[in-house]
């Protein structure tokens, strides 16, 4: 039965509901079909590997594995142009770059940065919804295009310190790069690669210019701080700032779009929770937490490899193997979460894998959580009688960063 199950997971027809496939996979906690990657689908095993120092995230340790259906679509945020971001590095390089990036972003050095953005984020959310109210067609609103896509890019612009007048250009590059992560089987690959490369170059040059400027006249935004900080780890090179900025852009963008879209989709399918959220905006926080378990934007981590032979659940995975860690499946493991297929924001014990765990756990988690909670609470409050026009909606091609490509809804109106 598990024959070809990896292909099935990647197959577009499974996109709307991959969970039955995951359930099937969990019967074999360490699945290996002879040639491809070792696939981990159960909670405790995945969690263990995320804390296992014998697992590498450095793509240079990942020899392209025959039969790994994902290694054929190896686009990433800066391939060939930029040094790998810390997402794809092991300690000590990973630790150093992540530490330096964290200084201007979170505790202990910048404990309030994210919280201080709350008002600004609220303003962006309000602006986007106002625009829908003014220009949108209440009988057909695409929440992805009109809301959940533009929101995180605008946030990243503000965080990095992209000047408002450049935000529009930035959005175009970001969209092109994001599209490259989501192979469209219909499009001409060469043409698309060209377009992506162009956008990457332009964005890179733009950011490099901005970094130079901020080096001379720091303005307190993240780019200034990354470019000028002189902490115990020294100073980042321009190339390092560039690859870090590219990482923040792509990772901080792709995931949040899906978190918000999956969130609205789930709430529209569970109107009782949507109603609760409308009455009680603070519920946004537990709702987002349960969403990260129930419909995580990053479904699997496909680029880890083993530095030693390791034994997991009675199976020895040989040194040099490629691993897929299916976070979304671990999140629905009944051995860990009672009644896992139920969306239940009141769940008490929700230590999900939606943001990973261990040293690579989502860097932007505090920001993503805040963005999603604000967005969902505000949509719940302002949309009058929202309903899904297509269920399931059309999904994106991408099986790793999974989410609807469009979320067409209709509303009776938009409250002030």
């Amino acid at each position: 039965m598990t024959e070809g199950i990896l292909r099935q997971i990647l197959d577009y027809s499974s996109r709307a509901d991959p969970y039955p496939l995951y359930e099937e996979l969990r019967k074999t906690p360490v699945f290996h079909d002879g040639t491809g990657p070792y696939v981990l689908s159960t909670y405790h095993e995945i969690k263990g590997l995320l804390h296992d120092p014998r697992i590498s995230s450095d793509s240079r340790n990942l020899t392209a594995v025959a039969g790994d259906p994902l290694s054929e679509t190896g686009e990433d945020e800066g391939e060939g142009v930029l040094p790998p971001s810390f997402l794809k590095l092991d300690p000590p390089d990973h630790d150093r770059l992540r530490r330096m990036t964290n200084r201007p972003f979170g505790p202990p050095h910048s404990p309030r940065r994210v919280e201080q953005m709350r008002g600004e984020l609220g303003g962006i959310v309000k602006g986007l919804i106002d625009a829908i109210a003014k220009e949108g067609d209440p009988s057909r609103i695409d929440l992805v295009e009109e809301f959940s896509y533009p929101f995180p890019v605008t946030v990243i612009c503000r965080l990095l310190g992209v000047p408002p007048e450049d935000e529009a250009r930035f959005h175009v590059w970001a969209d092109t790069l994001a599209a490259s992560l989501d192979p469209d089987p219909g499009a001409d690959p060469a043409e698309r690669a060209d377009k992506t490369k162009g956008a990457r170059m332009e964005l890179g040059m733009y950011l490099a210019g901005l970094i130079e400027e901020r080096r001379k006249n720091p303005t307190g935004d993240m780019l200034s701080e990354l470019a000028t900080a002189q902490g115990p780890d020294g100073t980042m090179t321009t190339m390092e700032v560039l690859s870090t900025a590219a990482l923040l852009l792509i990772a901080g963008h792709e995931t949040t779009v899906n978190l918000i879209t999956n969130g609205m989709l789930t709430l529209l399918r569970h109107p009782e929770h949507l109603a609760r959220l409308r009455a009680e905006p603070d519920l946004g926080v537990p709702i987002v937490e349960e969403l990260l378990r129930y419909e995580p934007p990053v479904q699997l981590l496909p680029q880890r490899s083993t530095l030693s032979d390791i034994e997991v659940a009675g199976v020895t995975i040989p040194k040099g193997s490629s691993l897929w860690l299916i976070l979304a499946s671990g999140n629905r493991d009944p051995k860990r979460f009672p009644d896992p297929d139920r969306f239940d924001p009141d769940r008490q014990d929700v230590q999900h894998l939606g943001l990973g765990s261990g040293i690579h756990s989502c860097f932007g988690a505090p920001l993503a959580r805040l963005e999603a909670a604000l967005a969902l609470s505000e949509l719940a409050r302002r949309l009058e009688n929202p309903r899904l026009l297509e269920d399931p909606p059309p999904y994106r091609q991408n099986a790793v960063l999974r989410g609807p490509r469009h979320l067409p809804i209709a509303v009776d109106g938009i409250r002030d």
């Binding site: 804390h51 120092p53 014998r54 590498s56 300690p91 000590p92 630790d95 030693s308 032979d309 261990g358």
Partner: protein
């Protein structure tokens, strides 16, 4: 009455008394209520305060980041207890099932939980220890008093003993810009808990942060001025050190004196109990109605050769209290063992230190990740060919893995390669623990293989 019925009755209308109203006591009480205990619950505590948290005392409070009265433990639920605060328990009548209080009152119980913890070991010479400016740090009042003394900007602080608490105090002093000397009888800070290899890293941390660290040194006497204020300390190398504030940080003593003569197996090493938290009497026979938890308990651990462990760890107090509470309300077949893998954390000089297992049982150490020179590393302790403990400096996200290695009695030295393995990490080193017969300030963890309830054991204070 069948056992079942008796248990149901206990749950419904029994009387449970908790002595020691702090972390372990509160968590046990909450667990009892969560498990449906609706009888009467009495919390006896000698401190006047409701349960509060101690770790912030040496961290936030000494830095002036939190005031001592703001460290109350969060409540998970209303425990609906009779609080007897500010009055110590003074005796126990096991036969009559009664706790006697210092004010003469008596409280009857059907089940008793003892969670009286430990107290700071005082300076051995009382007249010197009572000089103005001499402190210990265990309670909220200690924390507030020491914070006031530091805020006044003394010319020099002397910390006696470089265990975890002493090191954290020194770190806080430096963060406040105060001159501080640390005198440690052993060869390095933290040597009792983590051994000399890691202790050497801690020593560097002290020195780089401007602590005047003196190891292999004992303070022999404290000297006061005519108004009774401490002014100097005499050291075993013949020198004298002037200091306006002296913090005595020489480990802890178990609060068991109140049980003397009760027939319970309680003594200077704590109260011995079985893995289900039931206390032993002096004959080594397990009691049915008296349970212990937290710093005062000493219990056998299957993972560590059934050695009796006394752990002064926050997490241990919580887990043991929950187990004790569960077992108090359970039939024998439903009782659970306390098999918590020891885990401890500390933060000092901006470095987050964590350990799992029992490093002090280790004879060898391997640096499996990172490097000591960068003060970011994982050290794995080996004992008879297996992994027995691990410590991390600013690398705590790997700890779950090493905890599993300990649980699985994985082989030592670890045969696998890891990320961030440096050349120095391929060779096991002697972990370099001090000879246990030579006292230091006292390690955080004390292990002993003696039979429980050996009350003739001679108690030698670490310093005299």
């Amino acid at each position: 009455m069948s056992g079942d019925a008796a248990l149901e009755r206990l749950k419904r209308e029994g009387r449970i008394v908790v002595v020691g109203a702090s972390l372990a006591g509160l968590r046990a009480a909450e667990t009892l209520r969560e498990k449906g205990f609706s009888g009467s619950l009495t919390m006896i505590g000698d401190e006047p305060h409701e349960p509060y948290d101690r770790p912030p005392l040496s961290k936030q409070v000494l830095l002036g980041k939190a005031t001592a009265d703001r460290t109350a433990l969060p409540r998970r639920l209303d425990i609906d207890a009779k609080w007897r605060l500010g009055v110590p328990a003074a005796g126990l009548d096991m036969k009559a099932r009664r706790v006697r209080l210092a004010d003469g009152d008596e409280v009857e119980y059907d089940r008793l939980l003892i969670a009286t913890g430990v107290r700071a070991r005082p300076w051995p010479k009382p007249e010197e220890g009572s000089l103005d400016g001499v402190f210990v740090l265990r309670t909220r009042d200690d924390g507030a008093a020491l914070e006031r003394a530091l805020a006044a900007g003394p010319g020099r602080v002397l910390v006696i003993g470089a265990g975890f608490t002493g090191s954290e105090i020194a770190s806080a002093c430096r963060e406040r810009g105060l001159a501080v000397t640390v005198a440690e009888r052993g060869d390095a800070p933290l040597v009792g808990a983590l051994g000399g290899v890691v202790g050497a890293v801690a020593a560097e941390m002290h020195r780089e942060n401007g602590v005047d660290l003196r190891t292999g040194i004992m303070v022999t006497a404290l000297e006061g001025d005519s108004s009774g204020r401490v002014r100097a300390a005499h050291l075993s190398d013949g020198t004298t050190l002037e200091a306006e504030v002296v913090v005595v940080s020489l480990g802890a003593q178990r609060n068991t004196e109140w049980l003397t003569g009760s027939g319970l197996g309680a003594g200077p090493r704590g109260i011995a109990c079985d893995a289900g938290c039931r206390a032993f009497d002096i004959w080594g026979i397990v009691t049915d109605d008296i349970y212990v938890a937290g710093d005062v308990a000493r219990s056998p651990h299957a993972l560590f050769g059934y050695q009796f462990l006394s752990l002064e760890h926050w997490g241990n107090a919580v887990a043991q209290a929950e187990t004790a509470a569960h077992n108090m309300l359970s039939e024998s077949a439903e009782r659970r063992p306390h098999v918590w893998v020891p885990a401890f954390w500390s933060s000092q000089f901006g470095v987050n230190i964590k350990s799992v297992g029992v490093p002090s049982m280790g004879t060898e150490i391997v640096i499996t990740q990172g490097s000591r020179a960068e003060r970011r590393f994982v050290g794995v302790y080996g004992y008879q060919g297996r992994v027995i403990g691990a410590v991390t400096f600013d690398q705590c996200r790997w700890l779950d893995f090493y905890e599993q290695q300990i649980e699985q009695t994985a082989p030592f030295p670890p045969p696998y390669s890891t990320v961030d393995r440096r050349p120095e990490g391929n060779r096991p080193l002697d972990a370099d623990f001090p000879d246990p017969s030579i006292p230091t300030h006292g390690p955080t963890i004390t292990l002993s293989g003696y039979s429980p309830a050996d009350r003739r054991m001679k108690f030698t204070p670490a310093h005299n």
